[in-house]
């Protein structure tokens, strides 16, 4: 595991991956275990939901109208907020730690005194972030799939995988943002702060745009729109939307590599 920057970065995440993986599986299992009782309450749940202010519903349950259908349930309980939030926190943590974290700990100079170009170090560390998020997503999806079969929920393994993949792409966009801010400034705190703030703003923008008129024209600026806007759980992964997220990752990654190459390392 010490053969390359990529493998070492993954190795450093061993413990984190173990705990995050366990947590995500638990989240999948325990959420789905509630599904049968949720479904049986059926119409009452629906009535309760209809009495809530629309803004609140949009914020915490998304646009699904029928919360007792498998898709409505999964979206409102997991995919609107919880899953993207957790994936993003992990990706931002790794993205900000990649360069800025190592720089603040003072180990970056020693690493770069070896014959590896700066861009390659940043690139391999981002690749490690991609792999780590993918591992977590896979574990989470397995938890979802197994439990959904167990509780007799028919959502389709393929659709759940597509929704999870969409969340991975969203998280990686924010991971790349965290990497870029860290690469440009060398400050881990700034990197986490900026990415989280942008993440929260993007979430609210996308969630409230349907009911807040002034936000409406800007909804498509939010990465969350490209994550959930086309409801991947119901309709499958929207390739155009996925491409927008991938494009965002590529642009931010390029910005990270270029800014890192140009600046002085902090002492």
């Amino acid at each position: 595991m010490l053969r390359s920057v990529l493998l070492k970065s993954l190795r450093d995440q061993r413990r984190a991956l173990l705990w995050w993986g366990t947590g995500l599986v638990a989240l999948a299992v325990f959420t789905l275990l509630f599904y049968p009782s949720f479904r049986d309450m059926g119409s009452e749940m629906q009535k309760l939901a209809e009495r809530m202010p629309e803004e609140l519903l949009l914020l915490f349950a998304g646009e699904s109208k029928d919360m007792t259908s498998p898709e409505g349930f999964l979206n409102s309980q997991l995919f609107v907020l919880m899953v993207p939030l957790l994936f993003m926190v992990f990706a931002i943590g790794m993205g900000s730690g990649a360069i800025a974290g190592e720089e603040e700990r003072g180990t970056l100079e020693l690493l770069l005194s070896n014959p590896v170009p700066r861009w390659r170090v940043a690139w391999e560390k981002f690749a490690a972030t991609v792999l780590a998020v993918a591992i977590l997503a896979f574990v989470f999806w397995v938890g979802l799939e197994v439990t959904s079969v167990g509780v007799g929920m028919e959502a389709g393994a393929g659709r759940m995988a597509e929704a999870t993949l969409s969340a991975v792409l969203l998280a990686l966009a924010f991971g790349a943002l965290a990497l870029a801010v860290g690469c440009a400034t060398g400050s881990r705190g700034l990197s986490i702060g900026v990415s989280s703030a942008v993440g929260v703003a993007a979430y609210f923008l996308n969630a409230l745009a349907p009911v807040v008129e002034v936000l409406q024209p800007y909804r498509k600026v939010s990465p969350f729109y490209y994550y959930m806007g086309a409801d991947p759980l119901a309709n499958g992964l929207n390739l155009v939307h996925a491409s927008v997220l991938i494009g965002l990752v590529v642009v931010l990654l390029a910005a990270a590599l270029i800014t890192f190459e140009r600046r002085d390392l902090a002492t």
Partner: protein, 301 residues
Amino acid sequence: MSETVILAEGLTKFYGKQRGVVGLDMEVLQGEVFGFLGPNGAGKTTTIRLCLDFIRPTSGRVAVFGMDARQHACQVHMRTGYLPGDLSLYGNLTGGELLTYASHLRGGVDWGFVHDLATRLECNLSRPIRALSHGNRQKIGLIHAMMHGPELLVLDEPTSGLDPLMQQEFYRLVAELKAAGRTVFLSSHIMPEVERVCDRVGIIRDGELVVVESVQALKARALRHLEIHFSATVPPEVFSGIPGVRDVAVEDSVLRCTIVGTLDPVIKAAARFEVVNVISREPSLEEVFLAYYDRGDADAP
């Protein structure tokens, strides 16, 4: 004529308004041990980090092995071993794991040699780095710099934290590297250390290179404080007349003076009396500078 390994031309670095180094012209030749001497904040670390492309010059340039440090950073790093002045290592790895990582990044090293180094420096490679003392971490940093047998070693205060025995071992290592034709560029605060291991010395102060000189020339002008205790009072005139001797003061039976260059005439003169004790003190860095500035004056050698 040996080749130039490091060539700095008008090298200037400002951190915003803060001065790093200013207009540094310097040459380190192949096969020599070059010492970089200066007080805190003089600009030693700044110069070293410019050589390795961790920071970029405000103006001027620095070339290593004839290659621009910026354009060819990777090739320079390939042929160079570096010890940071402010060493931080991965605390969660053991020394051995850290060196394994570095060896993979370098495409392999001779492990027999690495273990040799570890044995000579009495360095335990199997303990987690976070559990090591400062000096023992420094040893791992030294091995990391030397493990691939680089043509050039750039060492920022290499002996900081090493006990006297390990310092001696380090001096021996440097002597061996020199014998093998390697080039060593090291920074230090300590005049005797530089005198001991270096061929040439660059003295830097307030970001400017004051002088570059061979160690012999520096020694010839080196300042030393001497204190001789006699069994009876001695006449000061005996000593104040000797060339290179200054600040002669006799208090009861104790003579204090400052000597530039060799001690020999003073010792010979003292031998006429009964000597109880001789105490010699190395000059501080500041005094070394003063000695340098005095060169133009009357008592130049």
